[in-house]
Symmetry: C2
Subunit: 434 residues, 2 copies
């Protein structure tokens, strides 16, 4: 078997066999197949597509490129969630404590933010002292004792996926449904998840711009899960405007803490309860969504989810005092609130532009490895459809210096559009794919 | 400008500007843009195509990546020919002496064979002592004094093209009309050609399998030439069966010598006269094809073309005695003639399979840099359409040992098909593209 022949096959739209895909991924992992051949292949995949069988084979080959975590015997059902990435998406910080508080242990490995999309690890690290670099042993021990873990990858899970993603990032081959689907699912399968709720974002602030495309991605991932014997549900959720109000690491932690205290933005609270309920159903904790939802609400409103979060922070070296006193979180030195200026209905709060402004402020990374500033970001005070007076607060910028604040104000201004005619609010979820 | 953005643009089917193409080629030439980005871009070009404007810009950027040869003042009109590559295509060895004998100096830089397609340099090197590694100064001096040169590239002409071709070869991105067209034309433009006859092969033994595809490639190259101020004619010629009889380096030199002596296979002789006539017209030597053809026939039949070839061989260190005594050429130790076995009409003599068998015998290279054996090859004694008796010679194998001969006989057997019903001969040329 020669790599070039497999590239030619894919280029000409011929289906690759599982053996051929495994050969290609193994060769790439070992370094026998050079980057330039993989780049040409990835472009051919992007433009020619992959069948369900090919995507499934690619997922397994990626998952098998490194260690596989086995959670059997540690938790009754290894349940996990994954978001395809968005702006202001601090869902994990609230959903996982809710599910854990309901008695379903959750051990989650998260990633860092890249581009306009934030990452759970960056958010959690805004809590002073919080460590995300657990070993596999520490991860398993904490999952047993606390029932909740939020860490980075404990070992080399699906290393071929990391290598492939880095290459796709610089070769224009990121937005391919089979490549995205196999990347997500390979990591979930390698990390031992048996039941997975996928939060597939759609809109200007997501990788998938339209509901049909997001649904296609969702169907592909659900299918891969089924072929791999996993129980998967995908929720297609809106990412045209940021989720909740806060965008930026410490700002988002504070919003998550408000939500865990029974407050928080209604849309974000609702989003979390819905995702948590699906996880509880998949984990077999509740017979259906209604009962699951009741458990989730109880965990949130009764404060047990908040206590789980406190235990999590303490277990991973963070300062638990932030839970009662969020003012202990890092604060930006320059803060400015901007008002609407004119009255009307909020027609647009462009999640991508707001996310990119947050990156420019220092909340995210333009490139992998860039340092980030946990304190900075943007709080958007209104949701699309809200009727606002001219003097109503529109957004607040949190910056490290006046220069950056000025630039951010300029950059973010076009993200907001007000109209005189009434505007429908955006839905939270568009559909569920099973 | 970032390379990845240009890949994305091409991936999405958006036209690149000349500046963007120049940036990409220059970055690649300098090594600033890595192979993996160029590979992804080449696959996007192959699958998305390029406009005439893009192909023209790519050609000029490739041509400008190194030195450009200027033949003004050395020859009245720098006329050249280029074949897209085929099996048994020893045309240059006869056409260039004819044109030179007509008083039109020809300085040609050729390439080596790769895959089932042979190369002029390998053929000429079958002549003992013949050197193809001339310096630019030697090239120009010989062009002035002898009026005929056949060498490898005298300098780094279009180095980006060489680099790009090597990458395309291993990334499944060879069969792209804009990439082939710009590769051919960039080298011709860099080598100073003002008038170019393109011999575009079509059929099983060519890169282009059908006349419409070959015509598309031809039109693209003629168009690039026009945009670059060159006078270009493309002849679409058959490559379903080998040209002439001989395939293999010394065997082809011998056939060229026979042809220069007024003999040779009729199809090959006709092919050479037709190409030569077009070159003479483009060079302004003759008012039209009829007069040009008469000059070419006179040069061939009068022996002046043969004398030009003799001068060429002598000038480049070869043994001129081979011209009168072709038995001085390298000879294979094991020779076997195979007869038809059954009578009938020759319906097929698969050029690709015959070419691949010649490579397996050692006449060509599977990979760049492989050594070759000048003596080996195949002589096909019949042309498609010929009526053959059961005991008529079909082909003769020239091998380095009995083992290779046996393998070649097995490999080449399916290339020949005989039928009981009459078969039309194949045309030599399908059309002319101006």
């Amino acid at each position: 078997m020669r790599a070039v022949d497999l590239i030619v096959k894919k280029r000409d739209g011929v289906e690759l066999t599982p053996d051929e895909i495994r050969f290609f991924v193994q060769g790439f992992t070992r370094g026998d197949i050079p980057d330039y051949q993989v780049a040409a292949w990835a472009m051919a995949v992007l433009l020619r597509g992959m069948t369900a069988g090919e995507t499934h084979a690619l997922t397994l080959a990626l998952a098998d490129s490194g260690e596989r975590l086995d959670l059997t015997g540690v938790v009754p059902v290894a349940v996990d969630k994954h978001s395809t990435g968005g702006v202001g998406d601090k869902t994990t910080l609230v959903v996982e404590p809710i599910v854990a508080a309901c008695g379903v242990p959750v051990g989650k490995m998260s990633g860092r933010g890249l581009g306009f999309s934030g990452g759970t690890l960056d958010k959690m690290e805004a809590i002073p002292g919080f460590r995300v670099d657990l070993t596999t042993q520490q991860f398993l021990a904490q999952l047993r004792t606390v029932g909740l873990v939020l860490s980075g990858q404990t070992a080399e899970l699906a290393p071929a996926d990391g290598k492939l993603y880095a290459l796709r990032d610089v070769t224009g081959t990121v937005p391919s449904i089979p490549l995205i689907a196999s990347s997500v699912m390979s990591k979930k399968i390698a990390s031992g998840a048996q039941a997975i709720v996928l939060d597939v974002k759609v809109g200007v602030g997501a990788f998938m711009p339209t509901v049909p495309e997001a649904s296609k991605l969702a169907r592909r991932m659900v299918e891969i899960g089924r072929l791999a014997g996993r129980n998967v549900v995908a929720l297609i959720s809106d990412m045209n405007q940021p989720l909740g109000h806060a965008v930026g690491n410490a700002l988002e932690v504070r919003e998550a803490l408000d939500t865990l205290a029974g407050g928080g933005p209604p849309d974000f609270r609702e989003h979390c309860l819905h995702v948590a309920a699906h996880m509880l159903v998949l984990a077999g904790h509740a017979p259906g969504l209604r009962a699951a939802r009741a458990s989730a609400e109880e965990a949130l409103d009764g404060g047990t989810a908040r206590e789980k979060f406190r235990a999590l922070v303490a277990a991973q070296g963070g300062d638990p005092a932030v839970i009662d006193d969020p003012s202990r979180l890092p604060k930006a030195p320059v803060i400015e609130m901007v008002r609407c200026g004119k009255g009307g209905y909020l027609a647009e709060a462009d999640a991508r532009l707001i996310g990119m402004t947050a990156v420019a402020l220092g909340a995210g990374r333009a490139r992998k490895g860039d340092p980030i500033d946990p304190s900075v970001g943007i709080v958007v005070h209104a949701k699309v459809g809200d009727r606002l007076r001219a003097d109503a607060p529109l957004y607040t910028l949190h910056a490290s210096d006046p220069e950056k604040l000025r630039a951010a104000r300029q950059q973010v201004a076009p993200a907001f559009k007000l109209t005189s005619r009434a505007v429908q609010p955006l839905p939270l979820f568009y559909r569920t794919v099973r």
